[in-house]
Amino acid sequence: MKQVPQKDAPLKLNDAGTWIREGVSYEANEPDAFALEEALRQKEKHTGEVVVITAGPARAMQVLREALAKGADRAIHLEDDAFVGLDAYNTARAIAAAIKDEKFDLVFTGLQSDDYGYAQTGVILAEILGWPHATIIMQIEKRTEQDGGGIRVKRELEAGFFQFVDMPLPAVLTIQSGINKLRYATLIGIKQAKNKPLRKVTLAEVQSAMGANLQKIERLYLPQKTKNTEYLEGPPAEVAKKLVEKLKNEMRVI
């Protein structure tokens, strides 16, 4: 899971114009929240253990705390400010190094992050682990041994199309938003979360697995407007009048 700025948080550029200023409100990346929920549901169906992992500064601990309160069994925190600036390849390499002694059957990620929007970390992680993957998943069923075992997943394709894919385990799946309904943490869950195991991993522990970023953000800036937007201002009744006039005389749709 990844911690990202809240959807409506006002963002400001840093002085170098290469990233945003810290100190805004953060939340769990939305597709990642659906990935966690799906993991919890799979555990409820098939038993097992849900482990949640994040790479980020100390503040990202909040994402893990919430996940533990919702029902995850333990957490891994790759904690360092440097994890914010990694490209997807390095993030995946750091995560792979941190879980090398684990024996997972399934790794879920959200299909993309709301900050960088690479939509790559999960797939890269699969390649590093040598596992098969499937992306933009809307449903996961365990297959019986008679049917060949493994899982059957439902992939979302474009324009309303879908496809079922059978695949062996272990596997990496990137989860689409809306695959399930998110739960809230209960009071008892929040209490229990405090006693659940948390493993911290430092940058030094995984650095040998990482390399230089292969993508460099030269400059971050506000989008240049390509359209000449006309702002309609005033009290609502007046705005409504102006807009109807535009709809009639300029857009000519009424």
């Binding site: 992306t135 030269e218 857009m251």
Partner: protein
């Protein structure tokens, strides 16, 4: 490495995905700026006719990369085939459209080659001997110029609509087509895809609608959908929504506009409480007129709006419905 730009054309079930023309336009633009050679490749089984179709465009050469194991699509087979191909025909830049299929295999391919993919790019320019790729960040609130800092092939995927398919240049004569047979051994392909299908009956065809009123998270509650419905009725248009609204079940999936829903280009697209996530905007930015009503003045939807109302939709929409009724008599 040769100064080659390779465009990997997308096909599904032996039909060219037309978004590939946009990628070729992008390749032609970059080739014109850098002086590099532009080539194209089609990957699949029995896709020679597509290779010939692409060869009519202004490209130096087209490769038809063939294996029976490339149909149906799987990430394992595509990565295996393109790895083998690129080992023999290295390219400095490998360009593809940012489709769901490409998203499924490109990160794996780039990782296998120990390089990177700059994804969902909306523009490219060559400046001081360096290629800069523009991509949106923070859901479109910012854009970034990104450069490639590696030494291998640089993969780039282009967002739908960033270059114009109708601007693709035809060649003076058909480019040569070379068939490259790749060997994909047993055991490489681990996933077994089933037939592609469409879920529900498409009850409404939004692509035919001239007027669309679309609702986003700003509508807040299911019961407020009725207000948007009244506005759509007053305008004589169809009601549509961004993904979260359909995920919540507030409107059926066939009313979803965006990359996972329908792509529309009506005369009027009126966005109510839609912030303008990238996945939504790719589905409606071709609309003739866009009106956006949103209380967040920094919402990315305003970047592409013709008319903007910064305000609470619950204050603006009721008088708007009244005015429309009056205007229509």
């Amino acid at each position: 490495m040769a100064d080659t730009i390779l465009v990997v054309v997308e096909q599904r079930e032996s039909k060219l995905n037309r978004i590939s023309w946009e990628t070729i336009t992008a390749g032609q633009a970059i080739a014109a700026q850098t002086g590099w050679t532009l080539e194209a490749a089609v990957v699949g089984s029995g896709v020679g006719p597509i290779a010939s179709e692409v060869a009519e465009k202004k490209v130096a050469k087209v490769y038809d990369v063939e294996s029976a194991r490339l149909e149906p699509y799987t990430p394992d087979a595509f990565v295996h085939a393109l790895r083998e191909f690129l080992a023999k025909h290295p390219a400095k830049l490998v360009l593809m459209p940012h489709t769901y299929q490409v998203r499924d295999f490109v990160p794996k391919l780039a990782t296998a080659l120990e390089t990177t993919a700059i994804s969902d790019v909306i523009g490219a320019r060559y400046e001081g001997g360096k290629l800069l790729f523009t991509r949106q960040m923070f859901q479109g609130k910012f854009v970034a110029d990104v450069s490639f800092a590696g030494s291998g092939s640089c993969f780039v995927t282009f967002q739908n609509g960033s270059f114009r398919a109708d601007k693709v240049e035809a060649g003076a004569a058909a480019a040569p087509v070379e068939t490259v047979n790749v060997d994909i051994p047993d055991g490489v392909v681990r996933n077994h895809p089933q037939e592609v299908f469409k879920e529900a009956k498409q009850a409404v065809d939004l692509t035919q609608a001239e007027i669309i009123v679309s609702v986003g998270r700003g509508i807040k509650e299911q019961k407020n959908i009725e207000l948007a419905k009244q506005l759509a009725d007053a305008l004589g248009g169809e009601l549509a929504a961004s993904r979260p609204i359909c995920d919540n079940g507030w409107l059926p999936m066939d009313r979803q506009v965006g990359s996972s829903g329908q792509t529309v280009a009506p005369k009027l697209y009126l966005a109510l409480g839609i912030s303008g996530a990238i996945q939504h905007m790719v589905g409606m930015k071709g609309s003739k007129s866009i009106v956006a009503i949103n209380k967040d003045s920094e919402a990315p939807i305003f970047e592409i709006a013709d008319y903007a109302v910064v305000g609470n939709l619950f204050d603006v929409v009721p008088p708007l419905i009244e005015e429309l009724k009056k205007a229509k008599g």
